[in-house]
């Protein structure tokens, strides 16, 4: 009997139509836990670097996390992994919602898809019955609309459906996968799904998920739930509203957007509008938000209400989460009403909410600069908002200029030439980043931006405050109930960190301390992503209910495999290094490990080099950022060392 996991993968070959239920290796659970970890192992074993993202041999893996479908609150994440067409590296985008638990109840931990269908199809998993069904009637349909149509035609309202929109079908390199209130958006995974001719995956399950030590497991789950209640009553003091609570930043609940609108950049990540937020704006935005927000909603087995049902007049309804509320608004220098309206279209089309607004703002900047002309943009309306709707439509259809823009700012700039590269200024490893430009280099963030395999800061950061507190009194109060620290020394680091003068950025935290902090944050994210626990209850907010001290107990009680802090840390580091190995085998180098040139105004090349050196060394990698043979052998990744050696990489 397998516990927490089902012990089965569903292998589907869309070229041949073959469907197999395959038992997974229980040893993998000890080594890689599950979810992202086992996805990485499969991609390492089965997708060598010669295989292109749009090859039929690229795998597309939808995986439930190890704890999904158990009672662990917030364990509902689906981890989608493939080779990204935007970066050529491993993509691992994730979504919450209800898909992963349903997949477990259907009896599978993962769906591994290979091959390509020559006509558009969808996969229907109903317990043991799995079918590849025709989807030609769904061609061109919206990602939200498709989910409803499939549930109707299956007469299965309880099914959960992950679908692509027009952007995925047309292989837009920042196409998303939409599912209920959630989406999986980064690195173009929707394009890989579209390339495989797969419009959607629907799942319905009515089987049991077992846990090994039920009495211990429920005790831990009750502990998590009680701590969530405690945190609801104890928001973190001396912090902006979005940092006070658990969950993803409560963008659907919070109306006060002073911090984002004054601190983040508008347009093509260009302009700071420090005085934008006025009483008048607040009143207007509040009225817009409250009029379109029908209800705050959750993912499976989670009390947080991070999402919302949005009803924009005269538009179909959709569900929104988090920061896409502002990305379109701010990229277009527009207002919240526009943001909610265009996000409806963008969700149906299925595009990433960070990349897409930046791509449009980039195009309009190129037009202003005369690099793109009326000839390139025939028929584009003259009004600002109209231009955005027009561009969005061209992009998802890959029509005219849209065909170039659909590859994202990095590739589009290369194709356009004439100096366009200067305008694609906010990328790391070819992916558009948060619209942020700051003053003083922050060593912790430098490391996360540069080295993070997710290539997305919000999915790396979290446990340690972003900025020091000004008074010692406030710092002492903050550390007084900081039970989540892996070691007491982290409290000391925080107490000693000053906003300016001695012990301040960029030289404090020192490279050694910065590395330890990054290791802590990454460790929590890698555990979450293997277990399928939402970062909003764990690695992302300050003082979360899941941490390094209760995770081993939860893991052990759930799976029956004993883990302690040391072994779960080792498993997280193993996963982190395995993904690094997948990427270095695909050609990623130290030269790629850098934030956008203009991310900070004040840069320190020598310090930055030292930071990378210290971090790599701590990780057991060489000065090129490549795992060493000795370290790989030490952490049971000898097979990786062998392959890298054979290829002359180490």
């Amino acid at each position: 009997m397998r516990y927490a996991e089902t012990g089965y993968y569903l292998e589907v070959d869309l070229s041949t139509g073959s469907i197999e239920r395959v038992e997974s290796d229980p040893k993998w659970t000890e080594l890689y836990m599950g979810g992202l970890g086992t996805n990485a192992k499969i991609l390492w074993d089965r997708v060598p670097p010669e295989i292109e993202p749009f090859s039929p041999d690229n795998l597309f893996i939808l995986s439930a996390g190890l704890l999904c479908g158990t009672l662990a609150p917030g364990a509902n994440r689906t981890i989608v992994s493939t080779i990204s067409p935007q970066t050529g590296l491993m993509a691992f985008s994730m979504m919450g919602g209800f898909f992963a638990p349903e997949l477990k109840y259907a009896g599978y931990d993962k769906v591994i898809i290979r091959g390509k269908s020559d006509k558009l199809v969808y996969l229907y998993i109903n317990n043991d019955k799995v079918e590849i069904r025709d989807a030609s009637h769904l061609k061109g349909k919206g990602a939200v609309e498709t989910q409803e149509l499939i549930k109707q035609e299956l007469n299965e309202p309880k099914a959960h459906v992950a679908a692509i929109g027009l952007a995925g079908e047309n292989k837009v390199l920042f196409a998303s996968i939409e599912q209920g209130r959630s989406s999986c958006s980064r690195a173009g995974i929707g394009a890989v799904m579209g390339d495989k001719g797969l419009k959607a995956v629907a799942v319905r399950g009515t089987k049991d998920v077992n846990v090994a030590r039920p009495a211990d497991f429920i005790k831990e789950c009750n502990g998590v739930l009680n701590y969530i209640k405690y945190r609801a009553d104890h928001p973190i003091k001396n912090m902006e509203a979005i940092f006070q609570n658990l969950g993803s930043p409560q963008e659907m609940a919070i109306v006060d957007e002073k911090w984002h609108t004054a601190g983040f950049m508008w347009g093509n990540v260009r302009t700071r509008r420090k005085d934008f937020w006025t009483e008048e704006v607040e009143e207007q935005w509040k009225s817009v938000q409250e009029s379109v927000r029908t209800r705050l909603i959750s993912c499976y087995n989670c009390p947080m209400k991070c999402g919302a049902l949005i009803s924009v007049p005269e538009s179909p309804r959709y569900m929104m989460k988090c920061f896409s509320k502002l990305t379109y608004t701010m990229a277009a220098y527009s207002d919240l009403a526009f943001g909610f309206k265009i996000a409806q279209m963008a969700t149906e089309y299925g595009v990433d909410g960070f990349s897409c607004p930046q791509v449009m703002a980039f195009a309009l900047e190129l037009y202003e600069a005369g690099i793109l002309t009326d000839e390139d943009l025939p028929g584009m309306p003259s009004d600002n908002e109209g231009r955005h709707y027009w561009l969005l439509d061209r992009i998802v259809r890959r029509e005219g200029i849209g065909d170039i823009l659909a590859d994202g700012t990095y590739w589009a700039a290369k194709k356009i030439g004439k100096g366009a590269e200067e305008y694609a200024h906010n990328n790391i490893k070819k992916i558009e980043q948060l619209p942020l430009k700051l003053g003083m280099l922050n060593p912790v963030y430098f490391l996360m931006y540069s080295t993070g395999e997710k290539i997305n800061i919000t999915q790396i950061e979290g446990q340690f405050p972003q900025e020091p507190f000004s008074t010692m009194e406030a710092r002492e109060e903050f550390v007084s109930d900081w039970i989540q620290v892996p070691d007491e020394k982290f409290k000391k680091y925080f107490l000693e960190w000053n906003p300016r003068g001695e012990n301040s950025n960029p030289f404090y935290p020192t490279p050694e301390i910065a590395t330890e902090l990054v290791d802590w944050m990454e460790r929590m994210h890698y555990i979450d992503d293997a277990l399928g626990v939402c970062a909003g209850l764990s690695s992302f907010p300050l003082k979360p209910p899941y941490h390094i001290h209760n995770y081993p107990r939860i893991f052990s009680a759930g799976t029956g495999i004993d883990m302690d802090e040391e072994s779960i840390t080792l498993a997280a580091r193993r996963n982190r290094t395995l993904i690094r190995a997948v990427n270095v085998r695909r050609g990623m180098t130290r030269a790629d490990e850098k934030p956008p040139e203009d991310h900070w105004r004040k840069r320190f090349p020598d310090l930055e080099n030292t930071l990378l050196d210290v971090y790599y060394k701590f990780r057991g990698w060489d000065e090129r950022g490549i795992p060493t043979k000795e370290y790989l052998q030490e952490i049971d990744l000898g097979f990786v060392a062998e392959d890298l050696e054979k290829r002359g990489i180490i």
């Binding site: 479908g69 998920v209 039920p214 909603i297």
Partner: protein, 179 residues
């Protein structure tokens, strides 16, 4: 029949507060598993959230009595502009739907307010609904004593309705001989 004092247990469902997370279903199925909390399967839950997110419909419904017959209830209700099937409000484990039947055996399910020894302070679904969509109350009332039939009898009755009593007797005889 004699009048007896009885604790009436009520759960008030505030549909406006439901965030649709289905924690109630998860914990209910786990509590009723054998051994307790050993398995989770919302399909075995005695509370289900009728959800239609895009229509903003979230309706937690508890499993009530088993009934062998289909009803006439096919009406629709429109409440605050949202259309509900009458069926959606119904607590019965009935033959016209799979709801409130065990997924493997087809046996009917019924909410028992989490009877436990020692007793739970509140049913588990209420404990796990920290958004307060489910509120538990107890009050004492004088009621007429009724005759309770036990779970096994309800179960066998439902099998008899489905397959005929002869088939059930035949199966039970065969099973008892085997064991």
């Amino acid at each position: 029949m004699a009048k007896v004092k009885k604790i009436i247990k009520t759960i008030t469902v505030d549909v406006e507060k439901c965030n649709g997370c289905r924690a109630c279903e998860a914990i209910c199925s786990a509590f009723h598993a054998e051994p307790k909390y050993s398995t989770i399967n919302p399909e075995r839950s005695r509370i289900r959230v009728m959800r239609h997110p895009l229509k903003d419909i979230y309706l937690p419904v508890y499993a009530g009595e088993y009934t062998p017959a289909e009803c006439m209830g096919r009406d629709k209700y429109i409440i605050e502009g949202k259309e509900y099937d009458e069926c959606g409000f119904c607590r019965a484990a009935c033959p016209s739907r799979t709801l409130f039947h065990e997924p493997d055996s087809g046996l009917p399910l019924k909410c028992d307010m989490c009877e436990d020894d020692p007793p739970q302070e509140k049913p588990l679904c209420v404990q796990w609904c920290i958004n307060d969509a489910l509120i538990y109350e107890e009050r004492e009332e004088e009621v007429e004593e009724d005759v309770q039939i036990d779970d096994i009898e309800i179960g066998i009755k439902s099998l008899a309705d489905k397959y005929g009593i002869d088939k059930v007797v035949e199966t039970l005889t065969r099973m008892s001989q085997k064991s």
